[in-house]
Symmetry: C3
Subunit: 427 residues, 3 copies
């Protein structure tokens, strides 16, 4: 099965689970990944009340039922039909209220009257329902029975972590999140592409870097994770990718790290340029996911984001319309390939250095025509240009940018020259 199809299948199976930042949905999601894809995944638990910098792990939320019944006993809104119908982290309720009062607890999107919006209230206790604006407007005056069978109590926050050792202790960091209920691009594309990348990385026998891969609840999860590993991450992570919104077909997008000039930024930009020269380049000011934490002052990890359609930029975002029709095997495959190429660049990039002074004699190695005539040498121009920059101060990626050539082509030249002892490798 092609990677795209495989990822789409995983997304389909994970779609119905009612995830939130804590609770059974997160655990089911992590267990699915561990059981079906990444056997080595470690699932961690952090207790309610754990202090992470300015934040605290909230109570654990569980929910079994949530509906609104009208006077005739008809369930007009039911969480069983779509888990977006309940406000995330709703407190329990069971009472009959008049429409006017009910409306204080209803959330809809007048601009997208068909869509059920995704709304949460993690840090202030509330109850509520989300529904389409069309349905909202059709509600007749009268009494309604609001029922939410939920629970907010001390528990744990869970996340998954997988570490794949490499030749170096320095690390490449992949982070994705598993806290959104039934939505496809944001977020299931993230965990399924990340799982496929982890699978691929496990097949590599010559990883240069160590890979640290986490599946966490957004915001509170990344903050907790940073608080537990701050010094280690600061000392070891050379490049990181936050993986989200990477499954639709519409475009490729890039969001830089706060510093903007890390190797993660450069590798991602180079990879995307050759995949789709029209990719959208956002700025740090347009951020909105876990890079907000990873790149925050004092943490400042080199974390960047390669996406298809960026969160907040497509109408389906954070609504019931971000469903399995919005992503595709083709879209997931493209996103996967882009991040994979960026990772390949990071992992193999190095400082090539010629082993001699002056130009090497290419002819005696069969790398240059032995006849010198007008126009000869044209086909080896790229190789000679590459060599001319192999002074040990420029990486293969930097030379690729200087020569306006794709990394893979130059890396092949580098490998050939390495085999001929014309260049040596410096990290």
């Amino acid at each position: 099965m092609e990677s795209g199809d495989k990822m789409y299948l995983w997304a389909k199976e994970l779609f119905p689970i009612t995830r939130s930042i804590t609770g059974e949905g997160v655990r089911k999601t992590l267990k699915y990944i561990k059981d079906n894809i990444l056997d080595g995944l470690h699932i961690h638990s952090v207790p309610t009340g754990y202090k992470a910098f300015d934040w605290e792990v909230p109570k654990e939320w569980s929910i079994t039922e949530a509906y609104i019944e009208n006077e005739t006993g008809e369930k007009i809104v039911d969480f069983k039909n779509n888990n977006l119908h309940v406000l995330g982290y709703s407190t329990p309720v069971d009472k009959w209220v008049m429409l006017d009062e009910l409306k204080n607890h209803l959330y809809s999107l007048p601009q997208q009257p068909d869509a059920i919006p995704y709304v949460t209230s993690y840090y202030k206790e509330r109850w509520g329902f989300c529904l389409s604006d069309n349905q909202m407007k059709s509600l007749k005056p009268g009494k309604y029975h609001a029922v939410i069978k939920s629970n907010l109590k001390a528990g744990v926050l869970n996340y998954g972590e997988l570490i794949l050792p490499g030749e170096s202790d320095k690390e490449v960091f992949l982070s994705t999140y598993i806290c959104h209920p039934s939505m496809a691009n944001n977020e299931l594309s993230g965990p399924v592409v990340t799982s496929a990348l982890a699978e691929w990385l496990m097949t590599l026998t010559n990883r240069y870097y160590t890979y640290r891969i986490v599946f966490i609840p957004e915001t509170i999860g990344s903050i907790v994770y940073i608080s537990k590993h701050l010094e280690h991450l600061k000392n070891n992570v050379v490049a990181g990718f936050n993986i989200t919104c990477i499954g639709d077909d519409r475009c490729y997008s890039f969001l830089p790290s706060r510093r903007g000039d890390t190797i993660a930024d450069k590798a991602a930009l180079h990879a995307l340029k050759y995949i789709d020269p029209q990719f959208k380049k956002y700025t740090w000011l347009q951020r909105g996911s876990d890079e907000r934490q990873y790149c925050s002052p004092g943490v400042d990890l080199p974390v960047t984001t390669i996406m298809r359609s960026k969160y907040g930029t497509y109408p389906q975002y954070h609504t019931s319309l971000d469903n399995l029709d919005f992503i595709s095997p083709y879209g997931l495959q493209g996103g996967y390939d882009a991040v994979k190429q960026a990772i390949k660049i990071v992992d193999t990039n190095c400082y090539p250095m010629v082993t001699t002074y002056c130009e090497p004699q290419m002819g005696k190695r069969g790398l240059y025509s032995t006849i010198s005539q007008k126009g000869s040498g044209g086909d080896t121009r790229l190789m000679m240009n590459f060599i001319s920059y192999c002074d040990g101060t420029k990486t293969v990626l930097e030379i690729a940018e200087m020569l306006d050539a794709p990394y893979n082509q130059l890396f092949d030249i580098f490998t050939l020259l390495l085999s001929k002892n014309i260049v040596k490798l410096k990290r």
Copy 2:
């Protein structure tokens, strides 16, 4: 009374005084400022012959009468009518001469036939009269009686100085000049705006910097002042403003320091951008006032100039047309506000630094919506962007430029965050 009106009134009262680089006019001007505005102003005297680097304080010049009489006894040119009529620093004369000889001592502007030009000869002894080109051309052949009752003898050069201590020993330097006879934009706008700024600075109880404010004769005055305080100025001045040509209504102008990238430059550019995005930006090569001395090699103070119409760029410049009609309360007020804003930026600018790792939890402090839904967060975007750059290496001004937002708006955000202990201040 509004500042603009007050400044205009001062200019009106100072206008008739016959100023030059030395003499009674300078003393009268300084005394007016001391008696009416800045009681703490110190008036200094430097003797003729004092050596300042490559220069020397010239003899003191005084003048009581200057006229040209024709054969019928009519005073056709009289210094009493306009003090521009006499060549600045004229030696005394009292003789009848033929028109041809007289013409060797007359100065007019053929391009502006109605204007009396402003001409001086400080460092070479001459006598002469200035008059409109129309009048010049109307002179009939014959004898003329040239009378100048002036005096050039050992005396002093005067300047005024006011020092307002702040929390820091580091200084902001304001310099303006008081050596031009009856002209309004160049120069009376300078001393009156500087006086008003000094008044305002005296009302501030929390000045961070110490303010050094001088009223000097142009060129020789600044050279003398630098020669007396070179090491102190080099060690202490963090920003300076040369205040001139700041009273007309036509435009705003900026002339950079020699280095071009000092905090004085940055603050002035930022202030002007938000006052008038169309302000004129000159280069160092277009300089022409005391920044020539303050920014000279080896002195190199961070002195920049905010103006309305720059010297040399408006036709009235250095003629009798640069009179009280050319400046206005409105023009003076605008110039005053621009320099004040630049000073405010310099004085309050600092390096904000977050007090936690990762984003602070804004919700619990009432600074962020506790409901998370599509589109929420938009109104706090600027605050979150600001926080994301509070890493202790960027000033509020630098962040304002990065976020393309006015300094005052960001400074208000900074103050709020400071009060909530989310950021701390580093100088």
Copy 3:
């Protein structure tokens, strides 16, 4: 005789010699230069087999006859008519072959059917003839007698070297090559312009730098030369010029050093800008002569190239059409003047520094009007701008670029100010 005419005459006399990278032709060429132009030229010999980094000096090649005879005894191709007819470094041959076999040894240019191409095979033993494509196509089936009386045996590689000491041990390096048979722009323009430059340099009594001037075979010659002097060159050469393709009339061209920002680059770019603002600016990636060795990683000398029509860009290049008609006294003179101006800039460039604080008083030195009136000072603006940058951190050349003025004009101002003790010189 004008320099251009003189250089053209030398080129004419050197034209018929059969040069190659070794052998009698090189020696004759060097001897001509030594006997007729540069008496002090040292002629060096390096033996076959000498190892220079990744290269080795090849066997010495000599040739006396080379022709193709048809069945009727007619010499249809004869090296005596044009020494391009023989493949450079051809091994000897003397046999009758059928046309089909002969064609394996024939080289022509289908795109330029009238031109005899210039082809060599220095490092692989072959025999061959070069001829016009028209002649090639006219050959009738049959037997042909191929005769090459050549010799490949242990011998020497020769080069010429001239060192002109200056005040400083630091060096300016001029390199040109003397290995091409009868072609005019590439290459005889190189040695004749270099010879004329050496003549001029010898007339200078106040050379600041020491001048190292070499006449070498291209590629192998520069590699051998570098291998013998690597440390010395790296420690001493401040600027270098590779002199080639500098005799035609069509345009001026510039090829930068690998680093691109050396004083040689800056001086050449400045010189060309004022000679012909339309000059062609190539990049390092378009290189193709000895800068490939001089600027290679680890060697990295500041060597740049000023040309007329660059090698490879004009159709006559490396063919019999690059003859004495393609170059001209006028073209040679222009090339000579351009390199001369770049050398002048390098040799005289320094860091001027004012001798006083604040502006010097120009009036008392007769350098500024003693009357100050509107518009006065305009004619001394350039001088005052120059002085304002004389802070000891900027060279005359850098100030020329900042003021957008030609170096010579500023150097004259500098010399005047030096004579008045207003500035002093720092190297």
